[in-house]
Symmetry: C2
Subunit: 555 residues, 2 copies
C-alpha cells in the first residue's frame, strides 16, 4: 500500500476535451483530481484533502485504478468504490449513478477509532470525511458561506444584527477552519484564530483568508483593541496552542464577543496538538505512539472546553462548531461540557427545515467566467434575496478560487432544481464553456444524522435515527444523481455520524434536465421531510407550500 | 400509536386482479400483507412477523398509510419507508425502485438496545429484523433450506456424509428456529428441540415441522434412543427452558451428535426466557420491568453457553446459529464463549464465495401450481445438481406453504439471473397465472456485515466493514430492483449488523427482463466481489470464471 508519493502533482484537466467517454464520467474524474489539487487539498501527496485524514482515495494504487476505471466506464455502467478503493464495475442503466461510494462504514459495535485505525493500517479502509472521499470538496470556500451565515445569525441574535467592532475567538485554520477568519470579516467582525502550525497560517495568508499574523498574544490583542475602536474588521492569526491561549485570555480578563473552535478535535490521534508539545514531537509520536498522542490530546481538549465553559458562563455566546470537542471533554470527565450548544440547534436548524443548506457547483471548463455567469443567473432567478446577492458580490470580490472555479450558495427546496436546470440550459446553449457539476456538503438538511452536530437536540428526540441519510442516498440513487456516497464518521469522528453525498452533472442534455429536476427537488425534499416528521412547524409549512407528498403530514 | 389490534386479519389477495396501479406496486402490497398473514407471522395482531419483535410496519396507522400509498403510487414514483412508517412519495422513474426502506438504523455510538427501546417506545422506530420490515418473509420455509444445507454440510464434515441414527440438540421453535426440526429430518437426522412456549410447539406440530411433542425429558430421550437403533429420523419437541435442560443432559451424560441453538438470544428483553421463570411471568415483566428481564435473561444465556461449551469440549460439533448468544455470554464473563464457531465460517462461507445464498420467490397468484411449475423450470435450467433436485422434491412433499406459495433455493451468481428471466418469460407466456416476486434473505453473500455471524472471522480481518452492504443496496437501487431496504440489527441485535434487502418483480414485461438481468446478476455479484476482495480463492476463481469486472482482481 503506497500512501505517500511526493512525486505526484494532480490537477484536474480544464476545457472541453474529454479523457473519459462522456461528461458523466469525466465529471467524477475531474472532481476527484480537483480534490487533490495542491491548491485545494491539505496534504495532496498523502491523498489527504481536509479534516484530519479525510482522503480522496485509499492509496495511490487505488487512485490510479479509479482513474483508469472512470476513463473506460460506459454510460450504462456503475463503478463501486469501497473506502477509497475501486472494487467493481457493474452494468446498470443510463439514468443510474455512474459511481457509488461507501466510505469508512463500520458495524456499530466496532465503530470506534481503535478498530478503524487497525483496518486503516491494514489497508482495508480509509477515512472519507464528508466531501473528501466523495469528491466534491471545493477548498475553503465550501465552508465560508456556512460560517458566514452562522456568524451573521449569531450577530442577529446577540448583537442586534451588527458585528461592527466585535471580535470572535476561535482556533484551527485547517481545511474547514481556515474559512472562519474570512467569514468573520465578511460578516463585519474581527477574529482571533489560534493555530499551532505556521504552514497553515501561511497558507491562509497567501489565499487571503487571514489578514495578519501576530507575533504574539500582546500584538494580537493590540490589533483587536484597535479594530474595536475604529470598527474595522480584521482577522488575526496567532501561532499557538488553543488549550494554552484560551486559559491565558481568561487569566488576563480578556472578553471576546463570541467563542468557538475548529481544531480537528474529532480525531484525537491526528487532529489536536496536545498541550506543551511541539508540532514536530506531535508528528513523530503520531506514528510511533498514537495511543499516547490520543490520551494527551484528550486531556488538552478537556482543558480547552473548560476554558470555553468559562467564557460561556460570562454570558459570551459560545458554541461548538461541529468538531465533537464537547463529547471528548465529556468523556474526559467534564460533566457540563454540553452546557454550550452546537452551532446547528443554535443557528442553522431553521434553514434545514426549508431544505436550505450548502448547495454548490463547479465549472468543469476551469474558466472563472463560467462561474461569474452562473452567479448572475442566480441573481436573476432569485431576485429578492438581498442577503444572497450580497454574498455573491462579496464572494466574487474576496474569495480566491482553488482548483476548478466553484460557487456555494445556501439555497433550499424549490430553488435548487430551478438553478440546476437553468445551469444545464446555459451549458446546452453554449453560454458556458463546459458542463457544470452540482453537489453539496454532507452537512445538509436531509443527508446526515449526527447527534452532536446536525441533529443535536431534535425536538422529537430522534437525533440518532440514521434511517434518514440512508433513505436520502437511496433516493438520490433512484433519482439519477451522477455519483452518490454513504459515509460514517465525517466531521465528528468514528461512531458519531452517518451521512450521504450527492453530485449531479449538467451536461446540457435533455436527459440531464430530467435528472436535475428529480434529484435537486428530491434531495432537499428529504431534508424538509425529515424535519417535518420531527414536528418542526417551519418544515411542515414548507412541505405544504411547496407541495411535498408526505403521507400523514401533507395529506 | 396503535400497535396491537386483535380485530385485524390480514391476508394478501390472490389472483390477477390488481388493487394497486400496476404489478410493481401490487407486489410490495401483497408481500407486506403476506408478511402479516396469520399463517406466516408469529404475532400478526402486533405486526410482529418473526425474530423477537421484527415488524412489518411500525404501527397500524403506518400500515394503513403504507397500503394507501402503494395503492395510489404511480410507476414513476417511489415511496420512502422509515422504520415501518411511510414518510414520503417522490418522483423518480420507471427503472427505479418503487419502495425504498430504511429500518432500525442508528448512529453507531447510540446503536444499542437501550436507546433503540426508548425510540421504539416513543413511536419513532421499529425493529425491522431482516425480511420482516422488508416484506419478503415467507414463513419457516425461508430458513429450512439454509438449515438443511448447514446440517448436511455438518454431516459431511463430521459424520462421513450420513446423519442416519444421529441426533441434533437445539432450542427455540420460533419463526426461524422452527425450521430446525424439519431440516434435521430432511437431512436424515433426529432432533431434540427445547421450546418454552407450548403455542410455538403446537404451531410446529400443526404445520408438520415437528413430528412429536414429548411429555418430559425421559420420554424424549427414549424416542431418540429408539431412533438411534432403527435409523429413523424423528423430530421431538420438549417444552422446557434450554438453560435448564442442557445442564441436565450434561449431568445425565447424554451425548447428542451436534449442538446448536435458536432462541432469540439477540434480544435479551423479548427473546429469551430467564431460568426459573414461567412464560407468563416473563411476558408480564417484559412490559413492567424490561431491564430486570434483560438482566435475568443474560445470566441464563451465560449458563446456556457454558453448557454448550461443555458439549464442545467433549468433541461434539457445536455451533452458534446466528443469534448472538456467544456475545451475550461473553459480555457476562464467559471468556471462552467464542470457543465454538458460528455456522457461517463453519459451514456457509464457501457458498457465499460463489454468490450462493437464500434466493427465493413467491407466486402472487396464490396458486401452488405456479410454484410447482417454477420448481420444474429450476430442474430444467440446472439439470446437474442432484442435491438441488432432491431439495425441490422434498420441499414439495414436506413443506406446507404458508401464505402465498413460495420456494427457496440456494443458488448463486450466474444461476439467479437465468432463473429470474425464465420465470419472467413464464409470466409473459401465460404459463403462470400471475407475476412472481423474487427476493432473498438479508443473510446473503453480499448483503450483510455481521462480525458475529455472516462475516465472522473473515480471512483479511474485514468482519466489521459495512461499506459492503451499503454498496449492495445502492447498486440494487441503481439496477432497478422493485424494492430495496437497509437494516440494522437483524438476527444478532442492535449494534451487531448492517444489511440490505432486495426484491424484484417478474411481471412478464421486457422492461422487467432487462431489470432482472441486471439485478439478479449484480446482487450476488457483490457477494463474490466482497469475498474476492477479502482474498478467498473460491471467490476469485468464481469472479474470473463468471467474468465479473473487479479492478485489481480480474484485470
Ligand atoms: N462546522 C462545520 O461546518 C464543519 C464542517 C466540517 C468540518 N468541521 C470540523 O471542524 C474541525 C476542523 O476541520 P478542518 O478541516 O479545518 O481540519 P484540519 O485538520 O484541516 O485543521 C485543524 C487545524 O487545527 C490545528 N490545531 C490542532 N490542534 C490545535 C491546537 N491545540 N491549537 C491550535 N491549533 C490546533 C491544526 O494544526 C490544523 O491546522 C474538524 O473537526 C471538522 O470535522 C466542521
Ligand atoms: N441462523 C440463521 O440463519 C438465522 C436467521 C434468522 C434469525 N436467526 C436468529 O435465530 C434466533 C431465533 O429466531 P426466531 O425467528 O426463531 O425467533 P423467535 O423469537 O420467533 O423464536 C424464539 C423462540 O425461542 C423460544 N425461547 C426463548 N427462550 C427460550 C429458552 N430459554 N428456552 C427454550 N426456548 C426459548 C421462544 O419461546 C421462541 O419460540 C434469533 O436470534 C434470530 O435472529 C438465525
Amino acid at each position: 500500500m503506497r500512501r505517500i508519493d511526493k512525486t505526484r502533482t494532480i490537477r484536474a484537466a480544464h476545457g472541453s476535451t474529454l479523457s473519459a467517454k462522456s461528461w458523466l464520467t469525466e465529471a467524477p474524474l475531474r472532481m476527484l483530481m480537483n480534490n487533490l489539487d495542491p491548491d485545494v487539498a491539505e496534504r495532496p501527496e498523502e491523498l489527504v484533502v481536509y479534516g484530519g485524514i479525510g482522503r480522496a482515495a485509499r492509496d495511490w494504487d487505488s487512485y490510479d485504478r479509479i482513474v483508469a476505471a472512470l476513463r473506460r466506464l460506459e454510460d450504462d455502467q456503475t463503478l463501486l468504490v469501497q473506502s477509497g478503493k475501486p472494487v467493481g464495475v457493474f452494468r446498470t442503466h443510463r439514468d443510474a449513478p455512474r459511481v457509488l461510494i461507501a466510505n469508512s462504514n463500520l458495524v456499530p459495535h466496532w465503530a470506534n477509532w481503535e478498530h478503524f485505525s487497525e483496518l486503516d493500517k491494514k489497508g482495508l479502509m480509509m477515512y472519507g470525511q464528508m466531501t473528501a472521499g466523495s469528491w466534491i470538496y471545493i477548498g475553503s470556500q465550501g465552508i465560508v458561506q456556512g460560517t458566514y451565515e452562522t456568524f451573521v445569525e449569531m450577530g442577529r441574535r446577540h448583537y442586534e444584527g451588527s458585528l461592527k467592532g466585535r471580535w470572535i475567538l476561535t482556533a484551527g485554520l485547517g481545511g474547514m477552519g481556515g474559512a472562519q477568519t474570512l467569514a468573520a470579516t465578511m460578516a463585519g467582525a474581527s477574529c482571533l484564530a489560534i493555530e499551532c502550525r505556521q504552514s497553515s497560517i501561511d497558507f491562509r495568508l497567501r489565499t487571503g483568508y487571514v489578514d495578519v499574523c501576530a507575533k504574539d498574544l500582546d500584538e494580537a490583542l493590540a490589533i483587536l483593541e484597535d479594530c474595536k475602536r475604529t470598527g474595522k474588521a480584521l482577522s488575526v492569526a496567532l501561532r499557538g496552542n488553543a488549550a494554552e491561549v484560551l486559559p491565558e485570555l481568561l487569566k488576563r480578563g480578556v472578553k471576546p464577543d463570541a467563542v468557538t473552535d475548529q481544531t480537528s478535535a474529532h480525531d484525537p490521534v491526528n487532529g489536536y496538538l496536545p498541550l506543551g508539545w511541539t508540532v514536530e514531537e506531535w508528528e513523530s509520536k503520531r506514528a510511533s505512539d498514537p495511543k499516547a498522542v490520543a490520551e494527551a490530546a484528550k486531556d488538552s481538549m478537556a482543558v480547552h472546553v473548560k476554558a470555553m465553559l468559562e467564557f460561556h458562563k460570562q454570558g459570551i455566546p459560545t458554541f461548538d462548531y461541529g468538531n465533537n470537542i464537547r463529547q471528548v471533554a465529556f468523556d474526559r470527565g467534564v460533566t457540563d461540557a454540553f452546557a454550550f450548544p452546537g452551532f446547528v440547534p443554535a443557528y442553522i436548524r431553521p434553514l434545514f427545515c426549508r431544505g436550505v443548506g450548502p448547495f454548490r457547483w463547479a465549472a468543469l471548463s476551469g474558466d472563472p467566467e463560467d462561474i461569474y455567469k452562473t452567479d448572475q443567473k442566480v441573481k436573476e432567478l432569485i431576485p429578492d434575496d438581498k442577503h444572497l446577492h450580497n454574498w455573491l458580490d462579496m464572494a466574487r470580490e474576496r474569495i480566491h478560487f482553488q482548483g476548478l472555479p466553484a460557487r456555494i450558495c445556501w439555497v433550499g427546496l424549490g430553488d435548487r432544481d430551478r438553478l440546476g436546470r437553468a445551469f444545464n440550459q446555459m451549458v446546452a446553449s453554449g453560454e458556458l464553456k463546459a458542463p457544470i457539476v452540482i453537489g453539496r456538503d454532507h452537512l445538509d438538511s436531509g443527508s446526515v444524522s449526527s447527534p452532536n452536530r446536525e441533529t443535536e437536540a431534535m425536538q422529537d428526540g430522534s437525533d440518532a435515527v440514521s434511517d434518514w441519510p440512508l433513505l436520502n442516498a437511496l433516493l438520490n440513487t433512484a433519482s439519477g444523481a451522477t455519483w452518490v456516497s454513504l459515509h460514517h464518521g465525517g466531521g465528528v469522528g468514528m461512531g458519531f455520524s452517518q451521512h450521504s453525498g450527492m453530485v449531479i452533472v449538467c451536461d446540457g442534455t435533455a436527459e440531464a434536465d430530467a435528472r436535475l429536476a428529480r434529484v435537486l427537488w428530491n434531495d432537499p425534499g428529504t431534508g424538509v421531510m425529515r424535519h417535518a416528521d420531527a414536528g418542526y412547524d417551519i418544515a411542515i409549512d414548507c412541505a405544504r407550500t411547496r407541495g411535498l407528498d408526505l403521507p400523514g403530514i401533507t395529506d
